[in-house]
Symmetry: D2
Subunit: 247 residues, 4 copies
């Protein structure tokens, strides 16, 4: 498989390039960054592209890829329903092309989300805390938003009402962001890489599920899995879990 | 249902008495402690007994209950395979009598164990840390031992070999207790109640599942569930999870 | 010493009553709650009052106490500079009367704040997370605000600039409340009591200082210390640390 | 200053080489590893040596350095009182030569130890947990042993007796290693770098001080500080804290 990497000179992109170079059955044919033309992808014969860039440019790249029949494995964050709908529109005109949008490519993050959703029906309270290095552009992280959405859906399905919260006085922002009724808090601290904690609580007990990425290399096995499976998943897929063999 | 509590004047036993008194469809008919005769259970007409006592006396109590056709819901720790085998022998002669041995009655503990076993196949390393108040008699806790056993079984089934460990010098005990190849560490600290953490790790990332019981009352919903279901589960059951409706 | 308790039938107030009753050299002479007149304090001869109530009523109680020459040990939160200034005004007219306003009476909380301020000059980043039960009225907690203020002062004194934060897109509230340039996050989760974490980070490492109150009784030693020392500290004191013998 | 690095091709040694190369006023003159002769250090004119190697070889290297008048900054672990005494003997014959033995070169580790010792007198219970990657040779870590020794000394000075522990049954090793009466637990998990937690507890509350090294680069500022100060500290120094300007 001929693979192009967009955002190739960013920290994450460089790790992806290294992983693709070392992977069986893959060839790294294009390394594109901010000053390069996307035409390089077509000229190099890339069959699939990996994109870890910025919310401000990713849609332009994806429109280009879909139009040229190139699959895309995307770790860039900032996708809301409007963006996904736009993507689905483009893909409807390009049968056979697959796009994977995954807010997190680590198996640990996927397990964290799955366990959080499975535990949610048993607990009155739940909140999400994500912690990252201070160079990150978006807050909360895409993984944290998605986790909160999955938890909110599991609570609704179980017939749970709103989480209890008697806050009546205080400072703006203290209670975090509201994602479908689930509070999400984003910390930005030098020295950290990418970390997230889901805390669930009921009378007299709490259950905490925490994922720590201590090295960017932890993302690469999931990216390679995405590349290997993308041709078999035409259309839009959101979340790596559909590509994994989980219980 | 007529319920007797053994160890009724212990801290946990007193909570159980309070919960049974407040529960629909249950009557607390006997409160037995160290200076009382077990005959009280028979005289009071107890149909089921709850036992939170000490490894040194629980077998005597259970032999008495099984012989008199009284179901038992048991939170006392210290059960090894030999003790379970003895129990199975007694129960073979008492069809219809149910005994539930659960190292932990909190839903959070059950979820922690289930998630730890589900995640185990994806990680090279895993260890268990349990933290309790310093008045606890056994180390590691029954919950920690059972968690380690479940993790070890999941690793074996997934074809994983031993966890990596290059330790070649140090102090005895530093690496914890070995339970089926999984290291288990027990901390005893004033101010704590009952806490446990399972840490799983692979290249560049870790997943941590932590359960905190901050109040003894967190045990009681599980005990009531055990009492309500025990008559429908004759014979020996180990672990509350069989009585729950989990995914 | 004759002690009155205001908010005596609240959970914390009841613990305080129990502690005062059991303390050498103290007599509990008045238990006042929402429907009682403050005149009870004068009639009972209370020399000092303990107040764990609500931001909406505490100023009225303090005005009454100061006017009647009764010392006050106050755990109620919600004091800003304007309120403290008002208090100082009242106290200026009542020489000999002492008021202690402490956002937290536990020795652990005091140590956490002191260590956080001592470590602050060595780290580029720092944030505060406080976690409480969901019945709490204010967010962030008084302890968290005070911790952030102490950290901010220590950073200023060390000549540190603002913490790094590249956030440019996201949801309102995700980055918490801003207290003197230090981000503070408040979680509200059933099962929790009172917990706080300060996370400091620099290149490649973080230092975390965490305090967990698992039982309301953890506040009472600090309250008794406050009562024993208040007569020797006329005027306004903010924070228990001045009454302790710390390094 | 002309600096030689022993263990230069190990992971930590390579980071040290990088840091020395990038540091003002230092020149990296020798990179020695397992197959090289120590004579390289003398031939290259090294004035100071950094040693991050293995307990089995470090004493041989130090004897060589002291005999040749070369200062040494040592991060290798495994030093007990007998080894330190031997070192002091060698140094007595080499006035002007300085050796710094530091179990941890990160400022966070030093602060963790200092805070743990400062808090120890206020708490009935305390234990130490260290967590590292599974390729580490010694357990517990040198930092954890030293932390426990400092805590034990602070407790003795405050007149505290032994920590409470009612453990009477269990598995060998579950309660960790005993260092001067303080229990120390060592975890070895893939994905981790170097982490340590000190948990102190009293009635109803705990205080936790945690240090996380997420990147080996976190050690290098301390190493450079050691190199810059070593010539001014002849004889044996144990611990980086003496070289820092701490409160």
């Amino acid at each position: 498989m001929a693979v192009g990497v967009v955002g190739a000179r960013g920290k994450v992109g460089a790790e992806v390039c290294r992983a693709v170079r070392g992977a069986d059955g893959m060839t790294l044919v294009a390394e594109v960054d901010v000053d390069d033309s996307l035409d390089l992808l077509v000229e190099s014969g890339a069959q699939a592209v990996v994109d870890f860039t910025h919310p401000g440019v990713v849609m332009h790249t994806l429109e280009f890829c879909v139009r040229h029949g190139i699959h895309a494995v995307v770790g860039t964050t900032g996708f809301d329903e409007a963006r996904l709908e736009t993507l689905r529109g483009w893909l409807a005109d390009a049968p056979g092309v697959g796009v994977l949008i995954a807010p997190n490519f680590s198996i640990g993050a996927v397990l964290m989300m799955r366990f959080a959703a499975a535990a949610a029906p048993f607990y009155e309270s739940v909140e999400v805390v994500e912690l990252h290095h201070p160079d990150k552009a978006d807050a909360p992280s895409g993984t944290a938003r998605r986790t909160a959405e999955l938890i909110a859906a599991a609570r609704r399905e179980a017939g749970l009402g709103p989480v209890p919260d008697a806050t009546s006085t205080g400072l703006g922002g203290a209670r975090g962001a509201d994602v479908d009724g689930v509070r999400v808090h984003g910390l930005r601290i030098r020295g950290l890489v990418a970390h997230q904690e889901v805390i669930l609580g009921g009378v007299g007990e709490t259950l905490t599920i925490r994922h720590d990425s201590l090295d960017r290399a932890s993302f690469t096995p999931g990216v390679l899995t995405g590349l290997r499976s993308i041709a078999d998943h035409p259309g839009l897929t959101v979340g790596l879990e559909g590509f994994l063999d989980l219980p």
